[in-house]
């Protein structure tokens, strides 16, 4: 429906995206509980309990860490950001590999502590520029997170059916999509942001500046779009394996995906693209619990995993762009990985809106309205699927 405008507006829109992504969030002040930061690293406690995405904590690199520091690593893999938040609030874990949509909730809730980056020497110049000082891990000028890696939510398509890369996300949003009934969408409230990114481009009158800062009218518009999409959805996915089999099995032709899932699908006709509207993505970072008894082991872990080789190993194992770009130059294999995941391509990531928890205070700096919180998004998401 909207494809006609695409060619004309695309350049303009891309440049505004870049502008808005670059304009810092430094003016934004959030009300955050006062949690002290540590001054120096002391004796290792001998234990570290981690909540992490599957693939972030493996013996291949934890064994060396335990040998070096004596900190025994206990890992608990979580399936969703929401589960991570719940686990961290249980008080039984010291550190978490949080995506941006979990990070802000934890920071604002006082569940994690600000970090003294001087105690993390490996958190240095080689960290990708786009991963420093972002809202999801830096609040009121205080760093809370040490970046691990990032990835984009791309449009995956079956080339045998589409005949080429779709230029726009309209194939997954508009009722007249040629692939109606064969569309997949991510099954989580944060997916509302994807609708907002599409609206930002196609409905500028709504005035969406940041897909994570939606007032009530804007959220209603996004939900309306999601309900329209519901009519052409074949399946929602939250389980990665189900999404892969759905694409490979032919039930799904287009839909949101991660680069690593395309890789696992291992089918030449299944490809990914970043449409003109840009997209959402996830930036993961280590966050340390405010009530951890093992803070020294936690700092040692963040420093250890920030060095190029370990950070790269995590990124390759999980399938994402490493935060420490020094890894890319370390070998041919590493460079190939970095190129595949656009690790050093800031222009690519400038078009990606990193998952951030929506909160009542508008993240785009508006003060005349109140924005919708993640709780509102959660409730709205359930009405989408009816």
């Amino acid at each position: 429906m909207k494809t006609k405008q695409v060619g004309v507006v695309s350049l303009l829109a891309v440049s505004t995206l870049i502008l808005s992504a670059c304009s810092g969030t430094s003016e934004l002040t959030l009300d955050v509980p006062d949690v002290p930061m540590i001054e120096n690293v002391g004796e290792f406690e001998g234990e570290l309990n981690i909540v992490n995405w599957a693939g972030f904590v493996e013996p291949a690199w934890t064994d060396q860490f335990t040998t070096d520091t004596g900190c025994v690593v206990n890992s608990r893999a979580a399936g969703t950001s929401d589960e991570m938040v719940t686990l961290m609030r249980s008080g039984e874990y010291d550190i978490v590999s949080a995506s941006g949509d979990a990070a802000l909730r934890l920071i604002v809730g006082g569940d994690v502590q600000p970090l003294n980056v001087e105690l993390i020497p490996n958190f240095g110049d080689d960290i990708a520029e786009g991963m420093k000082g972002q809202l999801y891990d830096t609040v009121n000028g205080m760093p809370y997170g040490v970046p691990i890696g990032r990835g984009a939510n791309l449009l995956q398509y079956n080339e045998d059916v589409t005949g080429g890369a779709p230029e726009s996300w309209d194939v997954v949003w508009e009722s007249d999509s040629p692939y109606a009934g064969k569309v997949t969408a991510y099954d989580a409230p944060i997916y509302i942001a994807d609708a907002a990114v599409y609206l930002m481009y196609h409905e500028p009158d709504l005035g969406i500046e940041n897909p994570y800062a939606l007032d009530e009218t804007q959220l209603a518009a996004a939900v309306e779009l999601l309900k329209q999409q519901n009519g052409i959805i074949g399946e929602y996915w939250s389980d990665a394996v189900a999404q892969i089999t759905s694409f490979v099995g032919g039930n799904t032709v287009v839909g949101t995906s991660w680069e690593v899932l395309r890789k696992f699908a291992d089918t030449p006709s299944i490809k990914t693209t970043l449409p003109v509207e840009g997209s959402t993505g996830w930036y993961d970072a280590w966050l340390v619990s405010s009530s951890t008894p093992n803070v020294n082991c936690a700092y040692a872990w963040m420093d250890y995993t920030s060095q190029p080789s370990v950070n790269g190993a995590i990124a390759m194992n999980f399938g994402m762009a490493p935060a420490n770009t020094a890894f890319c130059a370390s070998s041919e294999e590493a460079q190939a990985h970095c190129d595949e995941y656009a690790a050093e391509d800031e222009e690519f990531f400038d078009r990606i809106w990193a998952w951030t928890t929506p909160i009542e205070q508008c993240l785009d700096g508006r003060t005349d309205v109140s924005c919708t919180s993640f709780q509102d998004w959660t409730n709205a998401w359930l009405t989408v699927k009816g």
């Binding site: 909730r105 519901n230 399946e235 359930l382």
Partner: protein, 306 residues
Amino acid sequence: MSETTTADPVDERAQSVPSPLQSKRVSTFLYQRERFRLGALLALPMTWLIGVYIVSLFLLLITAFWVVNPFTSRVSPGFTLENFVSLVTVPAYLSTSLRTLGMALAVTALSIIFAVPLGIYMAKLASPMMRNLLVVAITLPLWAGYLVKILAMRLVFTENGFINWALGPLGVSSPGFNIWVAIITLTYLWFPYMALPVFTAIRQLPVNLFDASADLGASGFPTIFRVVLPLIVPAIIAGSVFTFSLSLGDYLAARFTGGATQMIGSVIAANINLNPPVAAAFSMVPIAFVVMYLMVARRTGSLERM
């Protein structure tokens, strides 16, 4: 204890088994104290029922009255009925509840439609060999894991799957994943719980009832509708309690074979981390449905005969 016949172990037994005098004392003690006897009998099951089952359910359900901090998504104790009100006032919640109810009823109806003819055939017509074969065939799926069966159904209905491969040449194509496939999957999952009681009930019907029906001039179908069905209603109700309540609580079948279909279980699973009070309020819905179902079943009088 039987008076055994083994050769020597008289003195051994004296050590391992209480002497007749002792055990007599215990039984006298128990005989005289009826309440203690009852308590001892029920202690273990009651600990299980109250301590593990009821308390954990209660702890979950009580959060339905609690509130969530919209800023941090933290749950804090309080008292609000808003979560229950939303079950009715939010159209999406209401339609999800009604859809789930409809699906559970459809699964139950389908199970009955398949189970009765199959039961009659197995009990009255099949050879003993065939009967045993069918009993094994019905119970065989129970041996496989629940998730395995759902994923198997997913493979059957997938675009490159069995249906399109086997029936494609005949012009039949898989419907893709939708609510009907979810209903078929649920029927496949819970069918044994209906088929077995129905088969057993039909098998226990006295043969002379069939003879009498035939003597009075009734052919096959009148006999089934006027003699067999009324007599196996308790078995059907017993089976339907399983098919109905298990379908109400399920969500993985909908998730893997239902396409965009949302069930009560899907809402609970989605909310258990994000908004536990709504999840808890929602978990009351299937309980309410099952209680209503049991009350209706009780009215028919078939629960007494179960």
